[in-house]
Symmetry: C2
Subunit: 232 residues, 2 copies
DNA sequence: GAGCGCGGATTCCTATAGGATTTGTGCATG
DNA sequence: CATGCACAAATCCTATAGGAATCCGCGCTC
């Protein structure tokens, strides 16, 4: 225990209501999303416990939750591993799933959009445009974050807990692919334009158009990624 | 430890490769699906450990996995509870999500169907027709099981790991609703006919028709449930 | 009678210990 | 050289202990 204030924020305000397992979960998730843990790497329970200076118990609990997201995989008595790199087929399946869910989200989000939601979407697209796109991860990290946020916001605005949960499961995988898909950010201009097209449809309140633009976007993402990384 | 052979099947064959947490997970899932744990009921970690005669550690791990399925909910420092009863709005959202995902699954499953898969589907519909539909849960349990199996098989035949995962998350909720939706099995004849229609489209190899019939089925399920339980 | 404070019991949470299993290494053998 | 085996280290898995938080019933006060 190095942290002297486990659950108490300033002035005795227990606003946190978080236990160690929650912190471990978030730390691991961040490491996975950041690429600090590479695909296929072993995630030792005891090792992580030492690393984070906690006991193995909360680490075990956090990993059990993570397993269900597909970010890590478990083999009984052998431990956890970061999910392996996407194959070409995995990627195709992921895009197929996105094409099934995201246009529906876009359609619903458009018809149920709140002014605050629309503002947040505009902000996300704005962040995409202004984000640095350098070669190192630290540079284009904010770009990836804004990309993910755009799609996440649409899923949230669809106002359906089950569709949101379904998207979130995909979202983690999408983010993972963005990191380890091999290519950096080579299609920013086109991707931004496609995001803008979705946003425009949302702004004009045309659900059908929003769905159509989302289909267009995902299909083009698929096309570009398939062209960029043709090797198996 | 009452079980003398934890992971060793006959003749020293460790085929099981299951640890205690896996068994606890399955036991809890079965209890949830069976309705033995009612919505809103507290699921005490220590209590479950006593009940199953294991230590709290594997129970904690199993519950952490279950939380992500939406079957139980956790509040830090307060414990787990079975997810509350579906409200009318929850149900509407669930059906909206099904309408987004299941027709896609049906379409893909139809175009990728294997002979074995088709046989399994036929068996499921056959089981639906012959299952007893008495008033007690023990009686119509096999009916619910066959219903769930039919949809699950289609999701599996769609041959897309992400869509399957998305459906499985829904599937648990659907099953939970079937149990606690208030009404018993009052629509068996119509539901069976709708399932048969989907199966027929699959057999004839018409993906568009399969998707259409699935839309029809889910919409009618929604209609009947909304009519049966109009009270909020 | 209603509201409030205060133990006691219950439960959650984390750490630790030790048994069981897997993994890696070195050495002997064919 | 390849193969198999023994042994050691690392890791997973489960049980247990004890601190911390929550819940519950009781008595007190207003």
């Amino acid at each position: 225990m190095s942290d002297p204030s486990p659950a108490v924020a300033r002035a005795g305000f227990p606003v946190s209501r978080q236990v160690l397992a929650d912190h471990v979960y978030e730390a691991l998730l961040e490491w996975l999303m950041d690429g600090r843990l590479e695909p296929g790497a072993a995630v030792s329970i005891d090792g992580m416990a030492r690393e984070l200076d906690v006991s193995p118990t909360p680490v075990r609990e956090a990993l059990a939750r993570l397993e269900h997201t597909g970010m890590v995989r478990r083999v009984a008595l052998k431990g956890y591993r970061v999910a392996p790199v996407f194959t070409r087929e995995d990627f195709a399946e992921l895009m197929e799933a996105r094409l099934s869910i995201e246009p529906v989200n876009a359609r619903l989000a458009c018809s149920r959009m709140t002014p605050e939601g629309l503002d947040a979407l505009k902000q996300a697209v704005e962040d995409l445009k202004t984000a640095p796109r350098g070669g190192t991860f630290a540079e284009y990290r904010s770009y990836l974050e804004a990309d993910e946020r755009f799609h996440q916001l649409i899923a949230a605005q669809a106002n359906n807990q089950f569709l949101l949960a379904a998207y979130n499961t995909l979202g983690g995988q999408i983010q993972r692919f963005r990191l380890f898909g091999g290519v950096g950010i080579t299609d920013a201009e086109q991707a931004i334009a496609e995001h803008q097209a979705v946003l425009d449809a949302m702004t004009s309140g045309d659900p059908g158009k929003a769905a159509e633009m989302m289909v267009d976007h995902v299909e083009k993402v698929r096309g570009r990624a398939m062209a960029d990384a043709p090797e198996e």
